[in-house]
Structures are given as structure tokens and as C-alpha cells.
């Protein structure tokens, strides 16, 4: 097991090859007019950084990159929260395996049509976490290195060591807590929340035009950054995403206050798998288990 998983230890040539292939494909589809824009990543000013890019000009296709800094789940830019981008016309998008799960989920929710997208999959050995060269926690237990069902897939996978499953360990620690301990754990984390809503804004599934938590007539959840409202906001968020969250962990990555938000999502996902055998983002499915009623649903919890 490898506890100090480093993205640096992955051969840079793999990223360089994937980068070339993404550029070539982007150029091809833009030149052919198959798509109006390609949503990918480009390098940032700071060494080793990358950011989302929306390329419409084929001569700019060579600004696209794939590197360990390509952390963003670009599915965000295809949601109705980003109408301006969808208005450009037919889109191509570069996705890692984890990002693709969000696209599949969005198709299930009738937010996207498969035939309207050109999906460029990239085989991903892992991207970096907060500590620059360290591999993101989600990547250490990744089961979707190679995206399936794309229009084209680029890149190849190196032999990866077995990483320490930090996410599972964290979840096991949470589950071992008593309800009082768990309450205290979340209370402490949510007390740090500043209500910047980076978690919501980065989530591909938070595309509601009117978020319940922004309402003020009447107010449903206190909007001020105080313990009661913070707790309510994060519970609403977790419940609204249960069965829909495709595990990209963008909420947690975006949080400037280091709140382990994806832990909550993962707990919900685990419960849904155990109770309903449901895993979000693997097949286009209109309704998740929390959005439908069936006669044979387990009702033993009603006392």
C-alpha cells in the first residue's frame, strides 16, 4: 500500500500523449463543424496549474492540456446553470471517468441528451489533491480510470500501485462513531462554513434555478453563516444529492474551509447501495431510489 500517493511519480509522457490526442480531436471536431465549442482544460499562469477552458476556435485547440492539475469536473459547464455555454451550440467535452458519471446522471435527469454531445474521454491515472503533488483521495480508490461509452477515448493507464484507501478509512471512522460523536463531528466542521456556496456552485447536480436555501419569502433555511443555518444547509444539500451525487468530490475540493463534504455524500451513496442496490452515474436512469415509489419498497422503518 502506498500512503503518500504522488501524482509526480506518474510518467509525464502519459499526460503529454493524452494532451496531444485531446488537441488533435478538438481541432478535428471544431474544424469539421461537428461542434461549436470544446470544453476542456488549459494550463494556468502558476506552474503546474490548470483551469477549465471553453475553446471555439480550432487554432486555439492546442491550448488544451491534460495534467495532474486537471481536477475540475467539466460536466458543470453543460448544466443549465451555465446556459451561456450551452447556447453556443453542440458541445464537445473532455471527461475523466469520474466526470463521465456526472454526465450520465445528468442524462438520466433529462438535462442532457447523449446525441447532442461529443464526449472525449481521457484515461486518467489520478489527479492531484489539495497538497499539490499528492494524489486526490478520490483517485486512490478510483474504479473508473477508463471512461466507457465515449465518442473517443485518449490516453493510457500506467501500472498503478494499490493506494491506501483513505476515503474508505475515513468513512469507517465516521461509521464507528456514536450518534453523539457524529453530531459533534459535523457540528464542528459546519461551524467553519462561511456560506460561500462553492460546494453548490461546483456541483454538477446543483442546477436548480431557485435554490431553496436562497429563498427569503419565506426563508426556509437561515442564510446567515451561523450554526443552525449552516447545519440545515449541509443537510439539505446531502439529502438533495442522495442517489444523484456521482462522487466527483468537487464540493469538497472547492470548499475553502476544508469541510469534508464528500464524506457526507459517500455515506449517503453507501446507504443507497446497501438499501436499493443503486449506484449513481453508471447508467442513464430517469429516477433514483429517492425519487420514486414502488409497492415493494421496504417500509419496515415506519414504526
Amino acid at each position: 500500500m502506498n500512503n503518500s500517493a504522488q501524482t509526480q511519480s506518474i510518467d509525464p509522457a502519459l499526460y503529454a500523449t493524452a494532451t496531444e490526442a485531446i488537441r488533435a480531436e478538438a481541432k478535428r471536431v471544431l474544424e469539421a463543424g461537428t461542434v461549436a465549442a470544446v470544453v476542456g482544460w488549459q494550463a494556468g499562469r502558476r506552474k503546474g496549474s490548470a483551469l477549465p477552458a471553453i475553446v471555439t476556435d480550432p487554432t486555439k485547440a492546442d491550448t488544451l492540456v491534460f495534467s495532474p492539475a486537471c481536477v475540475n469536473n467539466l460536466a458543470l459547464y453543460l448544466t443549465k446553470a451555465k446556459k451561456e455555454i450551452r447556447q453556443k451550440g453542440r458541445l464537445a467535452i473532455v471527461v475523466k471517468g469520474c466526470d463521465l458519471r456526472a454526465l450520465v446522471g445528468l442524462m438520466g435527469e433529462n438535462q442532457l441528451k447523449r446525441e447532442e454531445l461529443h464526449i472525449i474521454g481521457v484515461v486518467c491515472p489520478g489527479v492531484q489533491g489539495r497538497g499539490e503533488a499528492t494524489m486526490a483521495a478520490k483517485c486512490r480508490e478510483c474504479a473508473v480510470h477508463t471512461p466507457e461509452g465515449t465518442d473517443v477515448t485518449v490516453g493510457s493507464l500506467p501500472d498503478l500501485p494499490r493506494f491506501t484507501p483513505v476515503e474508505s478509512e475515513e468513512l469507517a471512522r465516521l461509521e464507528a462513531m456514536t450518534p453523539a460523536e457524529r453530531w459533534a463531528f459535523w457540528k464542528e466542521h459546519f461551524a467553519r462554513c462561511i456560506r460561500c456556496y462553492a460546494c453548490r456552485q461546483l456541483c454538477p447536480f446543483c442546477y436548480c434555478e431557485q435554490c431553496l436555501c436562497d429563498r427569503n419569502r419565506p426563508q426556509a433555511v437561515e442564510t446567515t453563516p451561523r450554526p443552525a443555518g449552516n447545519m440545515a444547509w449541509h443537510i439539505v444539500r446531502a439529502m438533495h444529492l442522495a442517489g444523484r451525487c456521482a462522487g466527483c468530490a468537487e464540493c469538497e475540493r472547492a470548499c475553502p474551509m476544508d469541510i469534508p463534504l464528500n464524506l457526507l455524500n459517500r455515506k449517503m451513496a453507501k446507504e443507497l447501495k446497501e438499501l436499493y442496490g443503486h449506484e449513481a452515474g453508471f447508467e442513464v436512469q430517469e429516477k433514483g431510489p429517492l425519487a420514486q415509489y414502488r409497492e415493494d419498497d421496504d417500509q419496515s422503518f415506519i414504526k
Binding site: 499562469r45 483551469l51 427569503n216 446567515t224
Partner: protein, 338 residues
């Protein structure tokens, strides 16, 4: 007049201030990060890392109650917050990029309506700034006209010395008073060598040229190019030492409740939403344009200062990698071409 203070005495100074009943705010370890927070002993001071959030919350808290109401058969009673409850405060170990923002904010909180909540806290706070010896690739204070040893906003200013301890410069009368009250903890400054200052890598920006370009380019394709990717969260504004927009909401019930003021951000989609439903900044690029215009043009036009101290927090925190220093470099280049 320069003095010096040993590391140990600096911590004793904090202990002494706390025992006098003052609120002492400084960088302290908070889980995975450093935050400005109330110090209960000198030992808690942890000046090594730039705190994740800026020091503005010393004067402009994340959330504060500004009035309370109660309603019964007799009618409605409204009670104000007692500003006497705001404690005498010492902000210690704050970086120049945080401290310099305080006098910049004074202008907006006092030019028309006087925001007593902010101003009372400012009046009751003494600031001990600390020279910065560590920059990362997001830092750009020197590019916006500040310096790692800028004393702007400080009452006393500490510069770490190679041999340990700090040189202490007196900047204002407030600082002088604090020093006089704790004289025995300070010594006369010897000719000690200071630690080398931080060296942000971004070159100097031509801020006047940037402002002139902004004057003429309210409409420009640049805004879409940069901000199409903006996700519309408030991380940049909330971590910024100079952003100061706030929201006011009444929270509570029909019988009683409070009016609260809390941080707001121009990146939020509903920030400019009118009651009519019309939203003049209806897309993200127009919101991001406002962020840049406000910091480098509107505030400069009105108050002669920029709303940016180059602390780099927005760059580090932006979940979609928007880099304000890169944006300014780009505008600087464009300014040269136009």
C-alpha cells in the same frame, strides 16, 4: 523610534493584553489551516502561515446582529446593539497585505453613511503588523504597490530578525501607547539583521494603465473569455481582505427576531437580482467584470485606492482556477496595445 522584542516577550505581551481583558486576535492553528482568531495565551500565536481568511473579520465579521425586535399586543419594540459591548482589541501578527486593507475599507464605511459597527471596531483596535518573509506563487503584493514590509494600517510593526525576536517600529500614537503601557517587554533596538523579506514573483503592474483600459472597456470580449468558467461562488470575495459587500436579513419569527448583516459576494447570481425579477448582471462574465472594475477602477475613481492588496487568497481558493494576477497582467498587456 525603533525597539525590539524577543519571541518570548511577544508571547508574554499577548498574555498581558489578555489579562487586561482585551480581545487579542492573531493567526492561530485551526485544524487543517491557520485562521485569525482570539488568542487566549501567547503560546497560541502561530504566525508562520498566511491565515486562510483575511483579517477583515476583525472589523467586519462574517455575521453580526445589528438590531433585535419583539412584537406583542403592545406593539413592536426594536432594540439597538450596544456598541459598548465591542471590546478593546489588539490584532497581532497580521501580514501587511491584510493590514493595508483596513484603511482602504475606512473610506467606504465612512464616506456617506457611517457604519458604526465597522468604525467602532476600528477605533477600538490596535494593529501590530508583521513583515512577511514567505511568499508563494499566488502572492503579488509588490505588483499592486505594496511591499512585504509595508506599514500601511499598522500601529506597531514587527520585523522578524535573523537571530530571533523582532524589531518593533512605532507607526502611530495608538502603537506608541500600547508600547508605553508594556515598556519592560521591549528593549532598545540593536543593530540586528532582519530576516530577508518575501519576494513575490509577479512583476510590477502599471495600475494606471489598467485603470485607463478599464475606463474604455466596459464591453469587451475579455470578460467572457475570463469569466465564462466562473462558477459563481463567493470564495474569492469571502477570503479577500478588501471585499466588503454585505447582505442584511431579518431572521426569527413573527414574535421576535434579529436583523443580521453578513458577507455577500458580487459573484453570486442573485446579488443584483431586483424585486421585479430583473437582474442587470444576468450572466457570470458581467459579475466578474464588476469584481475587477470595482477593485481597479470604481474604488480608485471614488477613493483613490485599489481594493486589492495582492494577498493571493482569491487565486489559491478559486475552484475554477481564475487567477486575478493573470487577469491584471493580461489587461496590462492590452493597455499597452490600445
Amino acid at each position: 523610534m525603533a525597539k525590539s522584542i524577543s519571541e518570548q516577550n511577544l508571547r508574554l505581551l499577548i498574555d498581558a493584553l489578555v489579562s487586561e481583558g482585551k480581545r487579542v486576535i492573531g493567526p492561530r492553528a485551526a485544524g487543517t489551516m491557520t485562521l485569525y482568531g482570539p488568542l487566549t495565551t501567547g503560546e497560541e500565536l502561530s504566525p508562520g502561515e498566511l491565515p486562510r481568511r483575511s483579517a477583515k473579520e476583525c472589523f467586519f465579521p462574517l455575521c453580526e446582529t445589528i438590531l433585535a425586535y419583539e412584537r406583542d399586543k403592545e406593539g413592536v419594540r426594536v432594540s439597538d446593539v450596544d456598541s459598548c459591548a465591542i471590546p478593546e482589541t489588539v490584532l497581532i501578527g497580521a501580514r501587511p497585505c491584510d493590514v493595508a486593507a483596513a484603511p482602504v475599507l475606512d473610506a467606504v464605511f465612512s464616506w456617506d453613511y457611517r457604519d458604526e459597527f465597522f468604525l467602532e471596531r476600528r477605533k477600538k483596535t490596535t494593529i501590530i503588523g508583521l513583515a512577511c518573509t514567505k511568499a508563494d506563487d499566488a502572492c503579488f503584493c509588490t505588483a499592486v504597490g505594496l511591499a512585504p514590509n509595508d506599514t500601511k494600517g499598522s500601529d506597531l510593526f514587527l520585523s522578524p530578525l535573523k537571530e530571533g525576536g523582532y524589531r518593533c517600529d512605532v507607526i502611530t500614537e495608538k502603537g506608541e501607547a500600547l508600547l508605553a503601557a508594556h515598556g519592560p517587554l521591549f528593549a532598545d533596538a540593536a543593530a540586528a539583521e532582519p530576516l530577508p523579506l518575501a519576494e513575490p514573483t509577479l512583476g510590477k503592474l502599471d495600475l494606471e494603465k489598467i485603470r485607463s483600459w478599464l475606463d474604455l472597456h466596459f464591453e469587451d470580449p475579455l470578460w467572457e473569455e475570463i469569466a465564462e468558467r466562473c462558477a459563481g461562488c463567493g470564495a474569492c470575495a469571502f477570503l479577500c481582505p478588501a471585499c466588503h459587500c454585505f447582505d442584511i436579513v431579518d431572521e426569527g419569527g413573527e414574535k421576535k427576531g434579529v436583523r443580521r448583516k453578513s458577507w455577500d459576494a458580487c459573484g453570486f447570481g442573485k446579488f443584483t437580482n431586483h424585486a421585479s425579477g430583473h437582474n442587470p448582471r444576468d450572466v457570470q462574465p458581467s459579475r466578474y467584470r464588476n469584481r475587477i472594475m470595482h477593485k481597479f477602477k470604481y474604488y480608485v475613481d471614488k477613493f483613490g485606492e485599489r481594493l486589492c492588496t495582492g494577498c493571493g487568497r482569491c487565486i489559491r481558493a478559486c475552484p475554477v482556477g481564475i487567477d486575478i494576477a493573470a487577469v491584471l497582467e493580461e489587461i496590462d498587456r492590452k493597455g499597452a496595445r490600445d
